[in-house]
Every structure is written in structure tokens, then in C-alpha cells.
Amino acid sequence: MAHGNRPLSPHLQVYRPQITSILSITHRMTGVALAGSCLFFAYWLTSATYGEAAFANAQSLFSSWFGQLILIGLTFSLYFHLANGIRHLFWDAGHGFELDTLRQSGWLVIVFTLGMTGLTMAMAYAVGAG
């Protein structure tokens, strides 16, 4: 295997942050958060097979203020990653590379993410309070 002095891409600091680059790194960060949340999903599901007390424990963890904060963050991450993922699929099909379209689809992702996160939170808190 030949390694060593292979060219490096320029470091991130030399670029001015733009909507395209911000959304790109956010896609990766939300992806990592969601990958980690697979473990919460596994804990939640499997706790139910350990009986009443174990499941009640898991439920109270997720409904604590810290648990709620995590779940809100994950809801945001899911909607962002989902919307921006669809944006990626359009790129893979060869569409939407014009600068204007890139910015518009970027803003669409942001509006969708905030709107759906808000809607989901409103529904969840309405059910939780009832």
C-alpha cells in the first residue's frame, strides 16, 4: 500500500461560512447524533422485555427535563437530516446544482426542519399534558 505525502484539501478555516457549507456539516453532525440515538431506541425497546420497573425507569428517563431536551434535539436532527437527505438525493440524480437553487433548497430545508420540529413538539406536549 502506497501512503505518505498525499495531497490534503484546504483547511476549513480559509472559507467564509455560507449556507451551503453550514448545512453540509450540519448534515454530518445530525447524522452522528441520530446514529447515537439508535442506542436510545435499543434501550427503550429492550427495557420493556425486562419488566414493568425497567420500562417505567426508561420512560421516566426520557420524560425528565434532560430526556426531553435530548428528544427535542433528536427531533430537530431527524427532520433536518431527512429534508437535507432528500436534497442530496436530488443532487445524486443530477438536479439542483445552480447556486440560486442551492440556496433556495437550503432555506427550504431550514424552514421545513423548524416547522416540523415545532409541530411535533406541539403535538407531543398536547398529548403529554392530556
Binding site: 500500500m1 447524522g31 452522528v32 439508535c38 435499543a42 420493556a48 420512560q59 431527512l82
Partner: protein, 126 residues
Amino acid sequence: MGMRTTLGCVRGLGSSNDGIKRWLSLRLTGLALVPLTLWFVFSTIGIIGADLVTFKAWVGLHGNPVLLILLTITMFHHAVYGVQEIIEDYIQNETVKVGSLIITKFTAVFFAASCILAVLRLTFGG
């Protein structure tokens, strides 16, 4: 370069030919996760704060066990491919890279298997 042949210079740096399969898998699992995750979010809103009896009833309800198993497989699959891409992009050290990839895959398979078994047990009792 020196005495090395042109083939010797490029060997080990090129395509391994299984990239397309992974590229496509990441996108197909991503596409499948759009309806699956939306179903999961809006379906679980209905069981916020549920006790075990209510939860078991929800897991076993109609198509829920099938959707939960599909969600588990697709989600862990997509997560592994995504994390793998990031590990391969950012970790230069070959030993650390391969080690991280193995840990990622073993962890995902273990938890995915646990989730599937949990869904089956909660659905069929036990």
C-alpha cells in the same frame, strides 16, 4: 517515482469496486427511512408516558411489529454506512480506522439483533 512502475505507483490507491454498492445502499436505506421515521415519530406521540401494558399493546398493534423491525434494520444499516463514511474521511491511522469500523459494525449488529428480538417478544408475549 524513481524505479517504480506506473502500476506499482497506483496500486492500493484506486477503486476497490465495492463502492457503488455502499453508495447505493446508503441512499436506498435513506429513502426507506423517510416514511419509516415519520411513522415512528407520529405513532410514538400517541404513547407518550405509556406504561408497559399500553406499550406492549402498541408494539403488537396491526402492522407495528413489521414496521418496527423494518425500522430497526434500515436505521442501523444507514447509521453504520454513514458513520463508516465519516470514519474513513477523518481517521488517517489505519489501525485506528479499521478498529473503529469493526467496533461500529459489531455494536450495530448487537443492538439491532436485540431490538428485533425485543419486538418479537413483546408481540408474541414472554
